[in-house]
């Protein structure tokens, strides 16, 4: 039960800057996800919270206590590592019992706690095995078990399910979320997989090149990305981006390039004005907010050519060429169409995102 407050934290490795001026408030019992591509500083941040890395400058608080100089063993945290970090010479039972032994708990209590955790993770039958005798998923459960046997202030997860196969990963996403809700413990979860962040977290902190880009609920991040990076990083398949310019004819304001002309609504025009945006911008639209119709007589506003179609079972992706640009459209499965054939595209103008071409900042 604790809040974690990260204030003005910087991290250097020699002269390389890994984390820049980071400020995050993790609320009590919150599931916070640090999301970003590799090298974005998310793991460094987690390791500083764990006490495994020194903080170059700034402070980290657990509740009201500044923990900068507290060694990991006294921070009352539990951490799950990317490669599980099980002790190979110990059985599953001994692995789980390890943190309890350091707490000088008596034998009976240890056994009880370990059996409780093992039951929760469905590894009771494995307690006498050594880590080599476990499958990837079982190792991962053991690593989680070692974290939950005690009641730590904070759970730290460092890409715990990155090495599992896709099916098991999606299964574990549900289990982890369920576990966190049940144990009601503040959790910080590092991942590069936006899907894990979107599905599990209460809030997501998107990081890039050591800088916090956006901190918000999954809905916020998905629907109102603050810049082009966040917009492109979150969502699968990723958002489409098209270079456009703003054109004003009388009262109507539109986004124009060689292939498209989109007349903006009143709200959107107001926001363009607020940010005094003019000239070149970048338009962003998610594959779900585009529609596509095959054939010449599509009745849609924009003419395009099929580049490739990818069936996904129930849905399909259509990559279409708009002049030099290419966009991905997601729709219910229908006739496939061949590369080079004509098609028509329309956009849901309500769902448009517009970014400053220079800075990448979102205008709306």
């Amino acid at each position: 039960m604790a809040t974690v407050t990260i204030t003005d934290v910087w991290k250097y490795y020699g002269k390389t800057m890994a984390v820049k001026d980071l400020n995050i408030d993790v609320r009590d019992n919150e599931f916070l996800c640090l999301l970003g591509p590799s090298g974005c500083g998310k793991s460094s941040t987690l390791r500083m919270i764990a006490g495994l890395e020194f903080i170059s400058s700034g402070d980290i608080y657990f509740g009201d206590v500044r923990v900068n100089d507290v060694p990991p063993k006294d921070r009352d945290i539990a951490m799950v590592f990317e490669n599980y970090a099980l002790y190979p010479h110990k059985t599953v039972f001994e692995n789980l019992a390890n943190p309890l032994k350091f707490q000088k708990m008596n034998r009976a209590d240890i056994t009880e706690r370990v059996e409780w955790a093992a039951e929760m993770l469905q590894i009771s039958e494995l307690l006498q095995r050594k880590p080599v005798e476990l499958s990837g998923g079982q190792k991962q459960r053991t690593a989680i078990g070692r974290a939950i046997v005690r009641e730590p202030k904070v759970f730290l997860f460092d890409e715990p399910i990155a090495h599992l196969d896709a099916k098991l990963r999606s299964h574990m996403r549900g289990e982890l979320k369920h576990l966190q809700r049940r144990l009601e413990t503040t959790t910080i979860y590092v991942t590069h997989d936006q899907l894990e962040g979107m599905t599990m977290a209460d809030r997501i902190a998107v990081m890039h090149e050591g800088v916090l880009q956006q901190l918000g609920t999954p809905g916020d991040i998905y629907n109102h990305p603050v810049n082009e990076f966040v917009a492109g990083f979150v969502g699968e398949p990723p958002m489409n981006f098209l270079d456009c310019r703003i054109e004003r004819v009388g009262d109507s304001v539109s986004l124009v390039n060689d292939n498209i002309k989109l007349v903006l609504g009143g709200d959107q025009v107001r926001r363009l004005e607020e940010k005094s945006a003019a000239g070149e911008v970048r338009l962003g639209i998610r594959p779900d907010d585009l529609s596509v119709e095959m054939g010449r007589d599509h009745g849609f506003a924009i003419d395009a050519k099929i580049f490739v179609t990818e069936p996904l079972g129930g849905d399909m992706l259509v990559d279409a060429e708009l002049g030099k640009d290419r966009v991905t459209v997601k729709r219910k499965i229908a006739e496939m169409g061949q590369p080079g054939e004509p098609c028509g595209i329309s956009l849901n103008i309500e769902k448009l995102h517009v970014f400053d071409r220079e800075s990448g900042e979102a205008i709306f």
């Binding site: 002790y87 390890n98 299964h171």
Partner: protein
């Protein structure tokens, strides 16, 4: 279905019905072309090895079963197992073993303790490379030279160590190598000086392979540095320590250079380990048959002890090796 859950999980995923399986392996996978040419490539090495190690071994057995005659023209006399049975009543033989075990145990325990300590101190320090280079020097020295060096250092007239020990009041009188207790300590110290660096080097290599994540996980679990070393680093070092111990104990069982130079087995047989006794029997008394019998027992016990050691360390070794790779 419930039985399945242990090995393939999560349970729900393995519970699909109607999975198609093919229960026989097509024959093409069994018909690997035989690679006979590999044998020809290996043959020269096998022959060379046979010539330099198998041939002497056969001779050793031959000699141990004969009364070997040195005078030209005389043929060896068949002795059966006489050479071996006589060893049972040979007090020097038994004492040789006891001294050898004492010597080897002393050397090993001091070398392992010191070597691991040095490796831990050196690991990740800035001067690591420099110190490794310095430490390697004694190891590069021929054991005979090390023997001479220490003999001079212990010398009662001009030896530094002798002077040092006398000045500190540790040594009352007499000489180091002339005193029964001190002589053993003296030869052990020489071995320790020369071979601790090897242990340190092997341990250092092992320390680099201790998974960082395990150490960190243990720290998060609540371990301080000392506990972390004993509960995570040390078990991960077992395979490396096994190599070090094997190497050193086998060396102890066959190297006689330093002892021969320093004490020749004396005073009063205090440092007469079995190999030195073997040297005396074979090359001072020229009883080559009996010498061969002693050598054979030495070889046999070295092999048995080697196997026993591997067995002791085997379990953790296997498990650490395979689990580290994933």
């Amino acid at each position: 279905m419930a039985v399945n859950t242990i090995d393939s999980e999560p349970p729900e995923l393995s519970a699909y019905r109607g999975v198609r399986r093919i229960d026989h392996t097509p024959h093409i996978f069994n018909n690997q072309p035989a690679r006979y040419y590999l044998m020809w490539l290996l043959l020269p090495a096998i022959l060379l090895l046979a010539a330099i190690s198998l041939y002497p071994f056969v001779w050793l057995i031959y000699m141990s079963l004969h009364e070997v005659q040195l005078a030209p023209g005389k043929s060896d006399l068949w002795a059966g197992i006489d050479n071996f049975t006589r060893l049972f009543s040979d007090k020097s033989f038994a004492r040789g073993w006891v001294t050898l075990f004492k010597y080897s145990a002393l050397c090993l325990s001091v070398e392992i303790t010191l070597g691991v300590l040095v490796a831990v101190i050196l690991n990740n320090s800035r001067l690591e490379k420099l110190f490794i280079t310095i430490f390697l020097m004694p190891m590069m020295m021929a054991p005979v030279v090390a023997g001479f060096l220490y003999m001079f250092l212990y010398n009662g007239t001009f030896g530094w160590y002798f002077w040092l020990l006398r000045s500190l009041g540790v040594l009352d009188g007499g000489s180091i190598l002339g005193n029964k207790t001190w002589a053993m300590a003296g030869v052990v110290a020489t071995d320790v000086w020369q071979w601790t660096p090897l242990i340190a080097l092997i341990t250092l290599a092992g320390l680099k392979r201790v998974p960082q994540e395990q150490l960190e996980a243990n720290m998060v679990d609540g371990a301080g540095p000392l506990r972390n070393f004993f509960s995570v680093a040390l078990p991960n070092l077992y395979p490396f320590l096994l190599i070090a111990i094997l190497l050193r104990f086998m060396d102890n069982f066959r190297f006689i250079d330093t002892i021969l130079i320093m004490t020749g087995g004396g005073p009063a047989n205090a440092t007469k380990i079995l190999p030195t006794y073997l040297f005396d029997v074979s090359f001072k008394f020229f009883e080559l048959g009996r010498g061969a019998a002693i050598a054979f027992t030495l070889l046999l016990l070295t092999i048995l002890l080697g196997l026993a050691l591997t067995k002791i360390f085997e379990d953790p070794t296997r498990k650490i090796k395979t689990s580290g790779t994933e």
